[in-house]
Symmetry: C2
Amino acid sequence: MRKIVVIGGGAAGFKAAARARRRDEMAEITVIEKSRHISVCRCGMPYFIAGLIHEIENLQETPYGVIRDEDYFRRVKNITVLKETEAKRIDRKEKVVEVEQNGLIEEIPYDYLVLTTGSTSSFPQIPGINSKGVFWLTNPSDALTIVDYWEKEDISDAVVIGSGPTGMECAEAFRLGMSVTVIEIMSTILPQLLDAEMSLIVQKHLHDNGVKVMTDCTVREITSDGGKVSGVKTENGFTEAQLVLIAAGIRPDVSLAKDAGLEVGKAIKVNSRLQTTDPYVFAGGDCVENINLITGKTAYTPLGSVASKHGRVIGDNVTGGMSEFRGVIGTAVVRVFDLTVAKTGLTEKEAEDYGFDIVTSMAPGPDIYHHFPGRKSLRLKLIAEKNGKLLGAQAVGDGVVDKRIDILATAIWMEAEVEDVTGFDLAYSPPYSQVMDSVIHAANMIKNKLDGLVDSISIIELKNKFDSNEDFILLDVRTEEEFAKGHIPDSRVLNIPVEDLRESLHRLPDDREKEIIAVCQIGSRGYEAVRILSGAGYKNVKIADGCMALWSFNLEVSK
Amino acid sequence: MRKIVVIGGGAAGFKAAARARRRDEMAEITVIEKSRHISVCRCGMPYFIAGLIHEIENLQETPYGVIRDEDYFRRVKNITVLKETEAKRIDRKEKVVEVEQNGLIEEIPYDYLVLTTGSTSSFPQIPGINSKGVFWLTNPSDALTIVDYWEKEDISDAVVIGSGPTGMECAEAFRLGMSVTVIEIMSTILPQLLDAEMSLIVQKHLHDNGVKVMTDCTVREITSDGGKVSGVKTENGFTEAQLVLIAAGIRPDVSLAKDAGLEVGKAIKVNSRLQTTDPYVFAGGDCVENINLITGKTAYTPLGSVASKHGRVIGDNVTGGMSEFRGVIGTAVVRVFDLTVAKTGLTEKEAEDYGFDIVTSMAPGPDIYHHFPGRKSLRLKLIAEKNGKLLGAQAVGDGVVDKRIDILATAIWMEAEVEDVTGFDLAYSPPYSQVMDSVIHAANMIKNKLDGLVDSISIIELKNKFDSNEDFILLDVRTEEEFAKGHIPDSRVLNIPVEDLRESLHRLPDDREKEIIAVCQIGSRGYEAVRILSGAGYKNVKIADGCMALWSFNLEVSK
């Protein structure tokens, strides 16, 4: 009878235990968890703070409303759960785990040990970080403490340090009752998910929802008054706050593994069967490192979806199976107020850092047929190698954004090339997509670039051109009505609607070398204009990728 | 200067023309269309009838609200459009098309000819089909005529003949103001999209929305009164109707191609570059046949999304390019009231007909995290070869259904195996999916079956078992509360909640050979029960795929 011991009662641990039970009705399976919370969906904690999920116990429930407590695991899965029990030491030679419960030390023998010790929030070295009212969100008890503090204290201002997914979700939650400032040390928000031009869309949306964002900004000190936090000092000044959330990333909890002499890199090292350097010790979830299948390098990707897959593979392998976890490609999604923000694969910046020779495209547009009621926005960016291999995608919008990224995540997983994507047989009907879905459209645009039909600059490069007083023409080919509703306020901007362009070439300079950047609303007319001008002999014509749908800077308002 | 002539002003034709222009500013491009409507999104016509799209001209508009009329094509794309002009004959030797406009015959020379002659509705041999009030929906003029007739006549009852996507969309539209009966000759509705157990869910939803459905039913005659339709006679009786829509499929319009001596199979035969048997004549859209990439056989797939891709490939190839259209895999989607119905690849029935040795799985569940507000339903069926290769998927629900099918369409396009799907790095966060998305869950279930962990029968087989008085136990392992809310009304049904199962084995017969079928709500507890019973030595235990979430038959209502 196999003895399987799991240390850590989160997603990976219980998945491993449950899967092991399904494959082996006889095994003796024990899960050890140091806190009093087991099998909680931690990704739901920001939504508990926001009140969208009413009780923290809901995050512990099955789809049919039963709480996954010790009794549940005992009766349904015949799994022994030891809560508030800390694994102190692993003796790999004797194959025992030394645990402490209520001050009592006990040794639990194992045939197979599973480490799912999870992660903790990063705890930056900031003076004043121990003040009352400074929180992080690692565990359900943190979520409960934050809600309790919010209810009892008089809080009008919150600061969130860090603009990753958790920071964004908590900023939205706090905004329900507070002024909120987000402080990010990098130059743009959500830097691990988005390139700058996409990030600026989200930043504008935060602004529109009353969240102040400070980027390129380092926190110097958290100030307090009578022990309670009173604000945050940065290099730029002081921001008042009665509540501060540290959301500066998370770190794997590897102390037990390290003490046991297991190899640790970015996190615990495992092979594709999720074995550590000891073949009888498996590890999964937030405490291990993964392989990024695009770069072939190790990556730290602490996600519930990954942990859950790990658990299944471990459950197979500790019961005589031969399952493998191949790796990750870096898919992620976060909701930011009305926007969905998602990515897969590499960002443009990551791809460049890894030395790939790349080409990108930007496809903004409605997420369904443009005249169907309920259409919403979708801005999709695609990144590929110049040899055609897909590398990554990002999408932002209030429409069905995440599943477009899932389509591309599937494509990248299957090592698709841009040419493959152009042929994808996707489901079309007016309530669901444009006749050529944005995914395919974005791939076609990359092909157009590779075929030399259109050259482009990014919307950020366009902004830089304006700011640096370069001499060029921005040819806005939208209708006069669209132009009047808002356009880039600069004397270098010329409005000629695309339908008038062929007969209005005299309004452009004779000099065929003149740099002309075409824009419209979402790109199709701008592309048309580039082709018309190229046909007329203009040599230095480009489109600004994403056009006005990507322009997140101020526009002149017509009178 | 190339002369490109396109016959047919629909999706494929104008896409080919526009793409050709973008690649060749100098070409002379002419589009010939016999009706007065050009570049209309025909897939939107049912929604125009339903009033969701207000004007038929909306279906002719660009995303920025400009109508794509002759003037638009002339000014923006420098394309000549000849409306209400009929191509009468193609002289391939002389490379001219003979056209008739206002009774005048003219010859138009071409270097490259593009046939995008489209399709017409099937017109079954039914007595009375020419009565006033009998319609089909091929062209915008049909849509306008139907709306006009509905407005002017006193209509209380409609009959829709045929339950394909157009039939479903029109049934929903008519239901806004009429009693509606759908008549289908096959044994289930939407037979090209769904297997029987999935189809029954849609049929129940139609019933719940007041649409009467008659399957296995052949129309004998359409009756009329004073020249106007009065009803439909079937083998089962008479159904009153003042409006009848024939939605019995569509047929390619290949007469011109046939007369010109081009090869025609299911439709016009083309190679992967979309050349007909004459290398200077290309064809695309509803008038050509495609290759199904799964079966390698020809298929007729008249869809706007396919036509649009055809157009792009043709536009490349008539301007010196070397583009290919690889084929289709049979993806389709239709909205039926609150449900989205989608499929890709082969249905189980098709796969069996083609002789594949298959295994299927059924994953019903919420489309997002089960405790997140706004969760909706998603029932996903997966079909694979026993060697692991994916063959098809179907999904029905009021949640985000279509994009799950798109993920699987991408997987099938890339020749994925079930094992690949289990690793897919999909975007997870509570507002978007379960921690293990249904797509991955369905793949895991196929693996479980292939690994011998669980055996199953379909919900239809279960129904047959009940109806045929077989001796077996249906073990419903839901909670007593769930059971009380509704269960299969039969004495062979036994309710033991899964959490009580290990300690209640004495309530089951000692005979370990006894056939036991386990069900719960969506399958996870049923699977758990199968594993528990197998562990206890029961040899003949199965789960009913999809469990109660797939049971579309009557349930006993508890007192």
